[in-house]
């Protein structure tokens, strides 16, 4: 773990911590106006200014980051676990089950993910939960594909053949001799994906399929504030920047994780 890059790790720690406990520390509520509207950044008491309703933007950004992170974590973990289960099943059993499962994932992968997610979210009615479900629906096939390929690669290697010769079969063989070499790949992919999921969550709420106003959600804040961009640029721009920053940080951390695991594996 010595090659883990220290700076992004500290940054991520700080951002996650701020998102989790920040709203508690802030003197303001994220949904109750706390001062004059359209206050620019660096105003007294409002370091990032206030929006068109007089809500404190710093407080809302922290709350929005929390929502985004939780949503991204839930979507990524569920997709990765689902993909891991189905991919392992397909890759290890092979044959008919493999064909069926992989054609289903092909079907999902062939459709444009964001549009399918929009359709699902619209069908379920706009809410944070439905946009999470929608994204999970389009996200798991990527993992299933990835895991199946890796499982097939590892299952063909000599050490698995040798373990089979020594009498280990079935799920024990998979758990002990196959999955430990697949998991790091899944962990790396998932950590690189969190940034993407954050952006997608924001995109869905930007088009109005996430939590309804006045929920502190970054995409929603950007879209609702868009009409004030000329006179009060900070109202839509700051939430947009926050989305960018979060996604960048997690992608960077994923890269670090990949480097660290590769270093360990070498």
């Amino acid at each position: 773990m010595r090659s883990w890059p220290r700076v992004p790790l500290i940054l991520i720690g700080a951002v996650v911590l701020a998102a989790l406990i920040g709203p508690l520390l802030s003197p303001y509520s994220s949904i109750v106006p706390s001062g004059a509207s359209h206050l620019p950044p660096f105003s007294a008491g409002h370091p990032l200014g206030t929006d068109e309703l007089g809500l404190d933007i710093a407080t809302r950004l922290l709350a929005g980051a929390r929502t985004s992170l939780l949503a991204a974590a839930v979507v990524t973990v569920i997709s990765a676990i689902g993909g891991l289960l189905l991919g392992t099943l397909a890759g290890f059993t092979g044959g008919f089950l493999d064909t069926v499962l992989m054609r289903v994932t092909d079907l999902f992968l062939a459709l444009p993910a964001t549009i399918v997610a929009m359709a699902v979210a619209a069908g379920l009615g706009p809410s944070m939960t439905s946009s999470m479900i929608a994204i999970t629906v389009v996200w798991w096939p990527l993992y299933a594909r990835l895991v199946r390929g890796e499982v097939r690669r590892v299952a063909g290697s000599l050490h698995v053949e040798a373990a089979r010769m020594s009498g280990t079969r079935g799920w024990r063989l998979v758990l002990r001799h196959v999955l430990p070499s697949v998991l790091p790949t899944v962990a790396i992919t998932a950590s690189l994906d969190i940034g993407g999921v954050i952006v997608t969550v924001a995109a869905l709420s930007f088009v109005g399929l996430g939590a309804p106003a006045p929920a502190p959600e970054l995409g929603l804040m950007a879209s609702a504030g868009l009409q004030y961009v000329v006179n009060s640029w900070w109202i839509p721009v700051l939430p947009g920047l926050a989305v960018g920053l979060l996604s960048l940080l997690f992608t960077y951390a994923g890269d670090g994780l990949r480097a660290a695991l590769r270093h360990r594996g070498a």
């Binding site: 000599l158 698995v160 053949e161 040798a162 373990a163 020594s166 280990t168 430990p180």
Partner: protein, 567 residues
């Protein structure tokens, strides 16, 4: 990379006159600083290759022989973390092995190389003709060179790409490329290790003839004492980067003086090695494993040393009825589909194989690459199924069939500990309690001469020989009805290989294991087998008792294999 037109060799008359040695190395030390602590790969080495002479650099893996080979070719100059001291003089030119200056015009011109793997050093995008003509300057010259390296249809080979040639042909092309530049020094780094034995003998003869014709010096790097003796005028034995013994090849290899050279020479197995006794010099770990059997005599070490320790002493008294077969193959046939997206041809790999192994007996299946020997092993192991024929394994004498693979490192799951791997086998085949399992694991490790403390090690922490022993321990921790070994010693250094053969023999006599030993090495086969079956092109061509191998071998193919084993 265009060849200089001056100084073209080979054409009689203008052979460059050489009045200085091809290579002089004095006090050379090379240190790799990329690792901490720094590794001293070469330690104060002094040696000379006279013009037209062949010097053998003999050593086991990690002895520094390849580092010396790289250094004299100027291939360490771009390595950032290498420190060197001492002098290297190639064909009269003093050079710094860590600096690029001076190497142009030497590397690839006055020093050329034949590597172990010709595929990696030939350009896959160029035909042999293009590569060779760049060096020779004309098609006629190229054809003549291919003729010189005994390629039968030079015109066809000239148009071929490297991947279309066999391993032996590629190595011939590589030799032609290396010699056509008219080097003062040819570095041959394990040039025949990857080749079948019969091809190896031809390549060695070719190298010797061309060296005498062209008068270039040869630095011959090898781990194989037999090859060194057949090829070299002088040898230098390397260990841990130091020359521990040097002199004429005949002298050093028949009457070694140093303890290490003695051990190397004693570990070498030929077709006349005594197969009734342990091979090589006594080794404490193997002796400890022998004591584990409880049948070892008191003065074990001395008797081994004196040559009076016989395997028969470890033979278990057997009460059960003799006779019966552990393995019976009858008319086994196998073909694989080869190439082609649409249909493709089927390649016949095995044709009508009949093979029987009597209870407590050991059979070696000997053949060259592509003969189908490994396919038989995989069918017996149940890893492939035969197209036709019967496979019968008598499972009453032990727990199924176990395999020891050639690449032991890859056959051990890297993230499981040795103890876990062995316990897993016990879990699957027995219902012992935890304490009993632990003691069985310890016994199994002791029996293959490993420290029981290694149970907590992962495969990555073990040496090649240790990995192979762990693989054997896993295979015998529950004694199998039949043990299959797929070239278990061919990737190991000679001294390690001989102790693995000793351990297999100990298991064979002590546990009464039936053994099928697949190998290309007739000498090793003779040591562990009661009978040697020779396989060629998917058919068993001859079956000979191992005890009278050289006398009994009658088939042409068998005689050819036998002649190819270097004395």
């Amino acid at each position: 990379m265009t060849g200089t037109n001056a100084d073209r060799p080979g054409t009689a008359g203008n052979r460059p006159h050489r009045d200085h040695p091809a290579l002089e190395i004095a006090g050379l030390s090379i240190r790799y600083t990329s690792r901490t602590p720094a590794v001293l790969a070469v330690d104060d080495v002094t040696l000379t290759v006279a013009a037209g002479q062949c010097l053998g650099l003999v050593g086991e893996s990690g002895s520094g022989k390849s580092t010396i080979g790289l250094a004299v070719q100027g291939l360490l100059t771009r390595e950032p973390q290498v420190e060197a001291s001492g002098t290297v003089v190639v064909d009269g030119t003093g050079l710094d092995v860590t600096a690029e200056a001076g190497w142009a015009g030497v590397r690839g011109h006055r020093v050329t190389t034949v590597f172990q793997d010709p595929m990696a050093s030939l350009d896959p995008t160029m035909t042999v003709g293009r590569m060779l003509t760049r060096v020779t300057g004309s098609r006629e010259e190229s054809l003549r060179w291919l003729g010189d390296v005994e390629i039968r249809e030079p015109a066809t080979v000239l148009r071929a790409y490297p991947h279309q040639l066999s391993g032996g042909m590629r190595q011939r092309v590589m030799i032609a490329l290396a010699l056509a530049r008219g080097p003062a020094l040819l570095v041959a780094d394990e040039p025949t290790t990857a080749l079948d034995v019969s091809v190896q003998a031809q390549i060695l003869r070719l190298l010797t003839r061309e060296r005498e014709r062209l008068g270039c010096g040869v630095l011959f790097i090898t781990h194989d004492l037999g090859v060194a003796r057949a090829m070299c005028d002088e040898v230098a034995v390397l260990r841990h980067g130091r020359v521990v013994e040097s002199g004429t090849a005949g002298g050093v290899l028949s009457e070694p003086e140093g303890a290490y050279t003695k051990k190397l020479v004693a570990s070498r197995i030929t077709v006349i090695t005594d197969r009734e006794r342990p091979v090589g010099l006594p080794e404490p770990t193997v002796i400890a494993a022998m004591r584990e059997t409880g049948r070892a005599p008191e003065d074990l070490g001395e008797r081994w040393e004196g040559g009076s320790l016989s395997w028969a002493e470890f033979e278990k008294e057997r009460t059960e009825v003799q006779g019966g077969h552990t393995l019976e193959l009858a008319g086994v046939t196998k073909s694989f589909r080869s190439g082609g997206l649409f249909g493709g041809a089927r390649k016949q790999v095995l044709t009508g194989i009949d093979l029987r192994i009597e209870r407590h007996r050991s059979v070696a299946l000997v053949g060259e690459s592509g003969s189908g020997k490994s396919t038989i092993l995989r069918i017996v192991a149940g890893l492939e199924t035969a197209d036709a024929g019967d496979v019968y394994v008598d499972r009453t004498q032990g727990s199924g069939v176990q395999v020891v693979f050639q690449d032991a490192g890859a056959s051990l799951t890297p993230w499981r500990t040795v103890g876990q791997l062995l316990t897993e086998r016990l879990d699957n085949a027995t219902d012992l309690d935890r304490e009993q399992k632990r003691s069985r694991v310890r016994e199994a490790l002791e029996r293959v001469a490993l420290d029981p403390a290694l149970a907590d090690a992962r495969p990555g922490q073990l040496s090649g020989g240790q990995k192979q022993r762990v693989a054997i321990a896993r295979a015998v921790v529950v004694p199998p009805a039949l043990l299959l070994c797929d070239e278990p010693t061919s990737a190991l250094d000679v001294s390690v290989a001989s102790s693995v053969l000793n351990l297999l023999n100990l298991l064979r006599y002590d546990l009464g294991l039936s053994l099928l030993f697949v190998t290309h090495d007739l000498a090793a086969a003779r040591i562990v087998a009661d009978r040697v079956d020779v396989i060629s092109a998917g058919r068993i061509v001859e079956r000979v008792p191992a005890a009278s191998l050289s006398g009994a071998m009658t088939s042409d193919y068998g005689r050819r294999l036998l002649d190819a084993v270097l004395a």
